[in-house]
């Protein structure tokens, strides 16, 4: 251990993190619980102070809890959101010191060595934490000690500040469970008569290790500072943004493009280091009159090649209004996707780079989702045998097959006059009078009963390919369950 500065650790425990998060949004002044389905029953996941006073506890079944307390209010729990909230709190705690790690799923641990004096000492710092958290509506218990273990013990069982360099003296009266032991182990220790940490520290070490394994004494040593324990701060997610401030305002398109190019090169280097590619980019041009112009660019596929991205910006930047001049450029990749480095080979070279760039460029004019391609779908209903997907977010697929000839184009069914199951010899369609030359069919297609489709309410369809003497080749169908004839498509 270091001789100079004494290491100090703050442990924050949020006993009601989940319910506090929900109640922050809409305050409920009544017993309130969050329920989670565990072991096939709705159980209490987290509860507020009112509910605790009514005698409810965690893990209780929700049905029992409602019987105890009829005025109980509840909401479903969302552990993923709680975790996100804890990360928000972790970010907030960075205001006290730069070294903040997570402690389980409901606590934080802060290494405040050398930063407490900035807040006027530890008590003032703790008071500030309490005040701010109370204002935010988050209940907290705070412990301060020389080690992570001591901080945890103080937060959960003592609450307060353990004076420096005297951990054993402060922790001795606390129960053994304060050493972060499993329930089984702490019960077994109590059966042996070792109720407090002081008892445990004065007992002989060898028999304890033989009976409980090395874990127990490791926890004790960690709490007392004989064994070191790390606090792992989380890395901040990389930020894909760069900016440039100019001494003199600029206004020419070529100047703005040159500035954007410099920023793009920096951004692409950043993206390359993380093996990411930008999907959406945004240039923000700040003018001297403090007005801001935004130029967005959505790409047809993730890219980190400055030379290819730059020309795509040209159209957007040329529309921006420079006013009295632009004195700051900011470039940010607002949406990134992973783009791992790939082996270049002569076999699988991508020939569609040009097409992707074209799609990006057209996307700036008509919207990227309006540029589409056909993908095969697994259905025998003609109009559902394909799906239309945005080309930027899908890969071309093969696997088109049809046993019977299909028309080149489809349109909504248009009724024609006709009776009987055989195609009419003469009929009128789109104000043309047509004579049947040859009819091929029928091909019966049944509706997909598992999907309710308005257009297929008429039931079965018998499709006929009808070639007329006038030349047009039409796709007709007859609905035997609801007699009628319709035209739905045309062949080449």
């Amino acid at each position: 251990m270091s001789d100079g500065i004494q290491r100090r650790v703050v442990s924050l425990w949020f006993p009601q993190l989940a319910s506090d998060r929900v109640l922050r949004q809409h305050l409920i002044d009544a017993p309130f619980v969050l329920t989670l389905k565990q072991k096939n029953a709705n159980r209490i996941y987290c509860l507020n102070g009112d509910a605790t006073r009514k005698g409810l506890h965690r893990g209780m079944s929700y049905a029992d809890a409602r019987a105890f307390c009829p005025s109980l209010q509840s909401a479903p729990a969302d552990p993923a959101q709680d975790e996100r909230f804890l990360h928000v709190l972790r970010r907030w705690a960075m205001r006290y010191c730069p070294w903040v790690g997570l402690e389980g799923c409901d606590g934080l641990v802060l290494n405040i060595t050398g930063s407490a004096h900035l807040w006027g000492g530890e008590p003032a710092m703790i008071t500030d934490m309490r005040r701010r958290l109370a204002h935010a509506g988050v209940s907290v218990r705070i412990g301060v000690g020389d080690t992570r273990g001591a901080g945890w013990a103080m937060a959960h069982y003592g609450e307060g500040i353990a004076p420096a360099r005297d951990m054993l003296g402060t922790l001795a009266p606390l129960p053994v469970a304060a050493l972060r032991l499993s329930d089984d182990m702490s019960v077994a220790l109590q059966r042996l008569g070792l109720r407090t940490i002081g008892d445990l520290a004065s007992a002989a070490r060898a028999p304890l290790t033989r009976r409980f394994g090395p874990g127990l004494l490791l926890r004790l040593d960690q709490a007392l500072g004989h064994q070191s324990e790390e606090i792992t701060p989380l890395a901040d997610p990389p930020h894909y943004g760069v900016r440039m401030t100019l001494p003199e305002p600029i206004g020419l398109l070529s100047d703005v493009m040159a500035g954007t190019e410099r920023l793009l090169v920096q951004l692409c280097a950043k993206l390359k280091a993380q093996e990411m590619g930008a999907r959406m980019l945004c240039v923000i041009l700040r003018r001297v009159d403090q007005d801001e112009q935004q130029v967005e660019l959505r790409l047809a596929r993730p890219l980190r090649d400055a030379k290819r991205i730059l020309p795509l910006f040209e159209r957007g930047l040329s529309e921006a209004e420079a006013g009295f001049g632009i004195d700051q450029l900011r470039l940010e990749a607002t949406q990134v996707e992973s783009l791992p480095a790939q082996q270049i080979s002569h076999v699988s070279g991508r020939a569609s780079d040009k097409l992707d760039d074209l799609i990006s460029r057209l996307g700036t004019r008509i919207g990227l989702e309006n540029i589409q391609r056909f993908l095969p779908a697994d259905s025998h209903i003609p109009e559902r045998s394909f799906i239309i997907a945005p080309a930027a977010y899908s890969d071309p697929q093969s696997g088109w097959s049809s046993a019977n000839p299909r028309p080149l184009c489809l349109f909504p069914p248009e009724p024609i006059a006709g009776t009987g199951p055989h195609p009419p010899n003469r009929f009128r369609w789109r104000r043309m009078s047509l004579t049947m030359g040859r009819a091929t069919g029928p091909e019966r297609i049944a509706p997909e009963w598992w999907l309710s489709d308005e257009n297929w309410r008429t039931g079965l369809r018998d499709y006929w390919r009808v070639e007329t003497k006038q030349g047009r080749r039409l796709w007709l169908f007859y609905t035997p369950q609801n007699p009628g004839w319709f035209v739905q498509g045309e062949f080449a």
Binding site: I366, S402, G471
Partner: protein, 184 residues
């Protein structure tokens, strides 16, 4: 009297052409199959006619087709010009609902020349633009034996003679066959 079909089909590259008539879609896909490569289809979003990939898979692989849905004809023309100029696609097909002026037609012609791509406009009958290189009228024809017979008329040609051909599409080999008009 007739110029050989090989001289007029596929129509001159790096130019724009027009096609009208009820067989226009068949012509467009046959041309795409002949040219190969990527194809872009630009249309207005409100059209009720839907291309059917199971149908045109007899002509080309549907994976090579990209569609652009635009809100009006102005966007159709702008997108087409950009696509023709980009040199990324071999064929750009557009469906027009209103006649285009000489200026627009000429702009597309120049874009096609710069990008070395072929442009094909599907137009309503009689709404052609004077700037195009050639204009075709296509209509399916009835034949007792065959069900792919088409009558293709070249009704405008800036660099050659006009003509009428009867063609059929061979699905297995994906190619056109010209049949003798004496079959009537």
């Amino acid at each position: 009297m007739y110029s050989p079909f090989l001289h007029v089909f596929p129509p001159a590259g790096a130019r724009t052409h027009e096609v009208c008539g009820s067989g226009a879609y068949g012509f467009a896909f046959a041309l795409a199959a002949r040219l190969g490569g990527q194809m872009l289809w630009v249309r207005e979003a409100w059209g009720a006619v839907q291309l059917n990939p199971s149908g045109f898979s007899d002509f080309i692989d549907p994976a090579t087709l990209t569609i652009c849905d635009t809100k009006d004809q102005k966007d159709v023309l702008a997108v087409t010009e950009e696509a023709l100029r980009s040199n990324a696609v071999a064929l750009v097909v557009i469906t027009l609902s209103q006649p285009i002026g000489l200026t627009e037609g000429r702009r597309l012609q120049l874009a096609a020349r710069d990008g070395k791509a072929t442009g094909l406009a599907i137009i309503p009958e009689g709404m052609g633009s004077n700037a195009v290189e050639s204009r075709w009228r296509c209509s399916p024809a009835f034949d007792v034996k065959d069900s792919t017979l088409q009558k293709w008329e070249l009704i405008k040609n800036k660099s050659g003679t006009l003509g009428v051909w009867y063609v059929r599409w061979d699905t297995a080999s994906r190619r056109l066959t010209v049949v003798s008009p004496a079959g009537e």
